[in-house]
Symmetry: D2
Subunit: 332 residues, 4 copies
Amino acid sequence: MPHSVAVFGAAGFTGALAAKLLHAHPEFELRALTARSDIGRRLDDLYPRHRVPLVLEELELDRHAEVEAAVVAYPHGAAAPLVKALRERGVRVVDLSADFRLRDPRVYEAWYREHQAPELLEEAVYGLPERYRDQIRGADLVANPGCYPTAALLALAPLAREGLIADVVIDAKSGVSGAGRAATEKTHFVAADENVSAYGVAGHRHTPEIEQELASLGAELKITFTPHLLPLDQGELVSCYATCDASLDSVDLDELYRDAYADEPFVELAAAPPGVRDVRETNFCRISVHLDERTGRAIVFAAIDNLWKGAASQAIQNLNLMFGLRESEGIL
Amino acid sequence: MPHSVAVFGAAGFTGALAAKLLHAHPEFELRALTARSDIGRRLDDLYPRHRVPLVLEELELDRHAEVEAAVVAYPHGAAAPLVKALRERGVRVVDLSADFRLRDPRVYEAWYREHQAPELLEEAVYGLPERYRDQIRGADLVANPGCYPTAALLALAPLAREGLIADVVIDAKSGVSGAGRAATEKTHFVAADENVSAYGVAGHRHTPEIEQELASLGAELKITFTPHLLPLDQGELVSCYATCDASLDSVDLDELYRDAYADEPFVELAAAPPGVRDVRETNFCRISVHLDERTGRAIVFAAIDNLWKGAASQAIQNLNLMFGLRESEGIL
Amino acid sequence: MPHSVAVFGAAGFTGALAAKLLHAHPEFELRALTARSDIGRRLDDLYPRHRVPLVLEELELDRHAEVEAAVVAYPHGAAAPLVKALRERGVRVVDLSADFRLRDPRVYEAWYREHQAPELLEEAVYGLPERYRDQIRGADLVANPGCYPTAALLALAPLAREGLIADVVIDAKSGVSGAGRAATEKTHFVAADENVSAYGVAGHRHTPEIEQELASLGAELKITFTPHLLPLDQGELVSCYATCDASLDSVDLDELYRDAYADEPFVELAAAPPGVRDVRETNFCRISVHLDERTGRAIVFAAIDNLWKGAASQAIQNLNLMFGLRESEGIL
Amino acid sequence: MPHSVAVFGAAGFTGALAAKLLHAHPEFELRALTARSDIGRRLDDLYPRHRVPLVLEELELDRHAEVEAAVVAYPHGAAAPLVKALRERGVRVVDLSADFRLRDPRVYEAWYREHQAPELLEEAVYGLPERYRDQIRGADLVANPGCYPTAALLALAPLAREGLIADVVIDAKSGVSGAGRAATEKTHFVAADENVSAYGVAGHRHTPEIEQELASLGAELKITFTPHLLPLDQGELVSCYATCDASLDSVDLDELYRDAYADEPFVELAAAPPGVRDVRETNFCRISVHLDERTGRAIVFAAIDNLWKGAASQAIQNLNLMFGLRESEGIL
């Protein structure tokens, strides 16, 4: 019998996509969609291509919490109280916000704001299956990673784990869907089309998330992380420049990555630099690693779909693990 | 009386644009266009929007060299012999190829091939006006810089000149016109649209050009340079990550750049990261500089139009200087 | 047990997509891919996102014809001899070319060339399931419709069948993938980007196909059909302007379409004009119908994905019918 | 001495572009910019690429009306009172809104709202120079045409004038800048990218404007006009399908258009269907005319840049005429 599930915050891009994936998922039954705007509209009116014939409802916790699982797609800060309420009612949660990604509430407060539910931080598992698969299996609260950290950590983990990185620059590129559904000066077609520019320079909030997880692998370092906005809708590429142990050669590097990802269902290694088109609308992360012999730097590229592996389909991957299902069910 | 000029290799994107700019230029008279393909077609048939009603002709040196000035837009390697022949006939040349950019023929041979006219290297001036304005004024042979070096050098020169850089990573992004007019698997709309990927990783031939010019400013270092292909037609952004002297603060950095470019007609400083849209179809280079205080890195962005400041309009800027005209004539 | 199938001509966009859909199809087993270029390359090298780990082979008929079913994705003219050879060996065929779409070989010859296998025309069924579902079920040779006819006929059939059309203009818009995989002046990113223009004016070869099928519904008329190339990869919109019976009102029109498509699994009716985004990477055709009361014209829009419902997924829909499977198997 | 001019409503796309063109115009001196949003921002902050270093000011009529000429870029309805006030102060006006385009106030009211200054309708001249050049020369109030009417009328005028049209369908395609600067669900990059759809079906307000001007040429008819939104920023193509006099052949048609536009500086005739790229950022209208011999229809394509010839540069063309300047001054 399928597990009952609801999506909270289904009017945005990632919540709506999670709804689509769950609606078509053989092992989940999508019971309800809530939203904070567009109440009363059907999701297939708002997102015709998702073909989910459910209505967006205003949150009524008592009613909407009568499910086994929840995907929460609320903005940072707004998510924590809802997650708390859901957990109190015994609902297992995958949270797409940043609220439970940073283990240290002081770091959260430095980059975001005061934490609304610090008591839940301990039970929260960082939902990168390639890193925390076993913990996710037993978790009741999974903090789905940010899109950039997903790609960056999959790109750098093999090096970090072996203690091979001294220094990292991450130059990231994302499609406009990463900026969310709000119509703004930045997301206007005429602003983004035929354009590219950096944003969040030296201060993007995915920085501490990447640093936390690199540190957990043994690589304690400060990184420079710079995202750029590209004229495409979905897709994200991180180009990572890591000063490496000088003894490393190109063959070692290839082997390191092959070993690290041999059994991963959603990580692909490629000889040529990946394009975001290669992973569009999939849960795959496609990685290629190169050695710049002149400078001794490893250059690692990782491409994902920011709405899929960077958010909604990774949430389903996490739900699959939490409920003991086949990890790729409904997302392959 | 206007100076007579011809464009050699006018069927490609940069040659055709140089033709357009010269056709409309009040101080030059565009006498002839040669090409190696599309002979007999009118340029306004091939490029309607340039509105140049001249026919592409097969090269007849004796006839076509009867001009005061030439813009040569031949591929690397093919340019040198033509430039030599033109110089022997006394024609003043701006060469858009790489053939005369690298002062050391051994470096040229390591990255390209055997040099076809090394005897001209000495007289060639590297055509970045913001760096070599005075030498260009007296030059008969100007090697127009590559598009990436133009942006990267304008971004990094102020730091390099002051001896403030220890280490540089350049992550560059270019529109598809940078790949030239040839119809290939890479330039097919369906390959480039909704995509982004790196190319020429750890081996792009603009690398030694950037290193040569940084060294000429006192910064002898090996750089990591990685270009990416973006789904847009014209425009180029370089994101430069430079490990800096630790004593530098944000105010110093701003002042350094303001001083360096106070009098430059085509360099704009901006507080916000520039977009390529800001400089589309102009000869401007728009720069913003930031300090990542957590890591001590300077992050410098420079945006140009790869076909304009990165090629054709910079060629006109150089011609203006060579012929004692107003530097911005015909390109502002 | 799954039915064995091969794709002939799998290097192009539509053949490769058919391969992808069949590779993932639970009731077919994809045995082989042949191609006329790129022999020896793996399909997942050529099209990483399709993730089909088979090699493109040169055609060896004896070996490759040992399958129950074939999808032929050859160019017009080249398809007929191969289809004939496959039929002689008892293989059931869906042909993506135009070779078996036009029932009258003289019409074929007027718009294409001499027909290479006119003896097969009688057994060929026009593969528009919404029109010929029953015949397709028993067919051994299905001529998959052209992309524009698919959309145009679904848009106009309800009116044509009722004898309500006097006159038709079809203004069609297609993404660049419709021009095929060949790298040409037209498919170069820089030519198509930020552009739109008509092509094949007053002479596109989908015209007689649309006229044949409108006539088969009782609407004998000459149409004006004009396709345009748009800066997007996949997607096709037809805007049909039909002078209608003056007695028709808006309510009749809606009812007519609702009745016509009530039970169709892949035709969606919408109140608002459909966008190609609504049907991207699906087998759906989304239609909206409007009455211009000032002029008495019905305006009907139909959006499809030209590579899916306009080609490859419709081929699977036809295969499903031919083999008695669920019509939507593998394409929903 | 240059003529003083102000732009009222310079924060939107068309007003800002008019400001840019006037700022660079040798015969006008741009004195002031007013706006209804973004008061206090500099235009080169809002639109860096226009490079106009003036501040957007709140309207103070007494001060801002101290100019010889005004370009008004207010929304429909809001423009009329401002135009009236400016005319009362003797300012010569080019109005970009629809408020003075329709000669009959009842038609205006049927399609828009009650007219705010009907007494000015008589003095207003419809600002299509190719049609009303002489009247514009003496005018004090010019109603700049809508973008679609500009293209459609230039496409159809030669036929209409000769009494050759019986019936017209216009299928129009526009880039997103045509929807204006407001950030909305429709103008969000993710909504428009990789998409195309119709809007304003059977009710777009440019319809009566086209009909009025066709009637003024002798072609009294009701047209079907349907605009579509395309994934590009600037550019507009109209595809006109006109049932013609049956005696017309292809040669007549070509001659008719050649005669009509022989002396027009901004109308280009082309053999091949024009692309909007051909006229991007120019004041040109590029037209090609075809005869569909099977149906007896003339098919006429006209491409313009919707912000240039469709709005701002045509406004300058009108100002040039009004002030006795060279018609192409500042826009060629």
